[in-house]
Amino acid sequence: MADLRIKIGKMLWKNPVTVASGTFGLEFAELFDLSKLGAIVTKTITLLPKPGNEPPRLAETEAGLLNSIGLQNPGLENFIKNDLPEYQKFDTNIIVSISGSSITEFSKVIKNLDKQPNIDGYEINISCPNVENEGIAFGIDKGIVYNLISHLRKITERTIIVKLTPNVTSIEEIAKAAEKGGADVLSLINTVYGMAIDIETRKSKTKNVIAGYSGIGIKPIAIQNVFRVAKVVKIPIIGMGGIRNISDALEFIIAGSSAIAVGTQNFVNPFATLDIIQGLEKYLNEQKIHYHDLIGSVR
């Protein structure tokens, strides 16, 4: 059997397959044993509860999904009380995705979470395109990204994953700033800005007008971003954006991802992550290649 173990920052994953923040939750435990995943990434948590954006929040386009959830979440306190203990039951790496509107807020969240046991890493969501002044201001400016991450680096020993937005001119610049700031891992991509209009009512299909585009339609964009970032950083990349099955996952790995995350596809086939883990073993055996040699092996 192929060895799928991989070091992601300070974590050891039993396999390189995880889930994209906001597309997965404890509810999936009714369908399969979450311990089978290399890691679980929670939905993004903020210091205070957030009600989220006005509905409608979803629209399906011809080749993907638009969402403007607006980081709806119960807030740090409720998360620690209700959700975290449940996550901690699983024998896998728990990564808490966090966001904030200021460096102080980010710091507060991490300081609080650092007191909790069995959290293996933080994913810093600097890229969510749905919430004004939350995330977005950070993710598009390399100076701000550097400041934020180097600040957080001083606070925590745990693995810091920085999640990048594709909605920038040079994702390389942002990636390098995050690495220089002390990030252990990068994850990409967050959703692409998108919009759809109902031609009968002439209204935007999501109330928030500009939404986040995910699913198979963004896959070529995501692979391209992974490829570019992998060329300029030394830290590992968690690749995502439209991954549905093993062949999509392999594209990301060959492009330079050390691990991959399934997002929108969790809504379509909740077992997609498991299928990919299986498919990966099969591919490695067939192609007689070690997992580590596959990463970034594009010719």
Partner: protein
């Protein structure tokens, strides 16, 4: 809420707008409660991406059926999928209707909003309720049963007019304890106003676009007034059935 691949057991065309699709699975049939829904998708179809939610229409001889209106790509594809081919089914999902016991019940449906009621009817009959069923549609195509009081906008079948007008008249003359309703937003909104006048309990089943169907994505939010405050609730998990008086209707 299991996720299963099941072959289509039966398919019945009602007319060129509606069909019923049936699956035979004991476990599935036993778990369902009226008002709950399943997410259906033909796994062979790549686009549209998302499974679509459909209410349990009826359960008979351990067979679970869905009444489906052909409105777009997914419903068309479900219609075209042949008997014996596999469909993925995720469910039962959602809360479902609260069953009244020994009450005077009025069911009100509009168009495809008829879908969840045959199953509810069965349970209400067992609960010894006294039931009146009003259904409205645009024309005879949108009428599903001769055993209910039908309204059509064009008068082609049943009474001519809107079902809500019928309800208003009925409530003026008859005492009713609880109203169960499903249909277009505009109908439900009107119905809420009417029921309020008569101070009747009101359970409405709502629709929104859904991604996960199980409370994960927060995509299906609607506005509900809770303790005097507007909050977002999830149609998939907190609903699809809500107390009609708490719903903040769209403009």
């Amino acid at each position: 809420m299991p996720y299963k691949l099941l072959p289509i057991f039966k398919k019945e065309l009602i007319n060129n707008k509606y069909f019923i699709i049936t699956f035979s699975d004991y476990e599935m049939a036993d778990q369902c409660h009226p008002g709950q829904f399943f997410r259906l998708k033909n796994p062979q179809q790549n686009f549209p991406i998302l499974p679509r939610p459909f209410s349990v229409n009826n359960i008979q001889d351990k067979q679970t059926s869905f009444l489906i209106k052909i409105v777009g790509e997914s419903t068309k594809n479900l219609f075209e999928t042949k008997i014996g081919e596999n469909i993925s089914l995720h469910g039962p999902l959602g809360n479902g209707f609260k069953i009244a016991r020994n009450k005077k019940v009025l069911i009100v449906s509009g168009g495809i909003g008829y879908a969840p009621f045959p199953f509810l009817l069965k349970k209400l009959e067992k609960a010894k309720d006294e039931i009146v069923f009003f259904h409205g549609g645009k024309s005879s195509d949108d009428i599903f049963s001769a055993n209910v009081i039908n309204f059509t906008e064009d008068g082609s079948v049943g009474k001519k007019g809107l079902v809500t007008d019928g309800v208003e008249q009925f409530l003026q003359k008859n005492q009713v304890d609880i109203v169960y309703a499903c249909g277009p937003q505009i109908m439900l909104k009107k119905l809420t106003e009417i029921c309020k006048q008569f101070n009747v309990d009101l359970q409405v089943s709502l629709e929104t676009i859904m991604a996960c169907g199980i409370g994960v994505c927060c995509g299906c939010a609607i506005r509900i007034v809770e303790n005097g405050k507007m909050v977002y609730k999830k149609v998939c998990k907190d609903g699809p059935v809500f107390d009609g008086y708490t719903v903040v209707w769209d403009e």
